[in-house]
Homo-oligomer: 148 residues x 2
DNA sequence: ATCAAATATATGTATATACATATATTTCAT
DNA sequence: ATGAAATATATGTATATACATATATTTGAT
């Protein structure tokens, strides 16, 4: 590096963490804005999708497939529960375990939000172009694998 | 789509928001882990870099260049201030405005953390390969531009 | 000069996130 | 059968984030 400012400029421009976090903020806000009418946050929507995909799923399983810390999973699930979108039942064979399932109200919300999700998602895919979009997803996956 | 589950699977696999957020979590944790010894969070480090880059910068300017909501900027700055890494002075010509500058202690922290940052950053760049890394950064930027 | 509008920052509230630790329950070695 | 270890979830604490709103100050129209 030539001098201190060049180094700072390099960090500012290329920090992989800051770049990804910034992109995450931007994309999140775009989704939030469009989904606002549903009252669902995009994170809640995505979690609901994952819960709907499985008839019943435990807190920790959900955490694992979504790569969320267990305590984060617990807290995010509770928000869905408080809104009546999921129900929680104790497993009979193991009282520590809790099964999460989507409720009818949750399914309604899901159906309300999915067209909106599709709309933004399609716009993003179109704006980037299919190739660049696929590359992006691939790069993000490789990035994560390269870290573990 | 063939059926409901195919649609859910599509969302789960390709949601641009969830993909980016997941990558952000993973990368953030990698940085946090390595930087733990410094007591600096990666977000704090990056903000400190941005503050150091400018002799004096206002809260809102910092928010603008980092693409952070003003209230988020305020709160993140306060954490740095409470740790003594930045000082805050009121502008004499406009008492609403506050100038943020890095302190000596902040500079020390910065110098302590930068080699660690460089280490992780280099590892990530190397693991992905220069081309893929550059593509990723480019894709993230295009993505954001395509949204605004 | 005054008062409304604009601007800069702060605060209230809520979600998303993780780490450390606590609690409840099950499993396993003896 | 019992107690230690393992496991599943919850809670305490802290940061990062945004939106809505409040507060303080400046600017600008009259």
């Amino acid at each position: 590096m030539n001098n201190k400012y060049d180094e700072l400029d390099y960090i500012i421009q290329f920090c992989s963490c800051a770049n990804i976090r910034k992109a995450a903020r931007t994309v999140t806000q775009a989704f939030e804005k469009q989904m606002q009418s549903t009252g669902l946050k995009v994170t809640q929507y995505y979690m609901l999708v994952n819960i709907a995909r499985h008839k019943e799923i435990t807190v920790s399983e959900l955490g694992e497939i979504m790569l969320l810390e267990q305590s984060t999973a617990t807290r995010n699930i509770n928000i869905l529960k408080n809104n009546g979108y999921v129900s929680i039942t104790k497993a009979k064979d193991d009282l520590r375990t809790k099964y999460i399932s989507i409720t009818d109200l949750g399914l309604e919300k899901l159906e309300e939000a999915t067209p909106i999700w599709l709309n933004i998602q399609t716009k993003i895919e179109d704006n980037l172009g299919k190739d660049k979009f696929n590359d992006l997803i691939k790069s993000l996956n490789i990035l994560q694998e390269s870290i573990e």
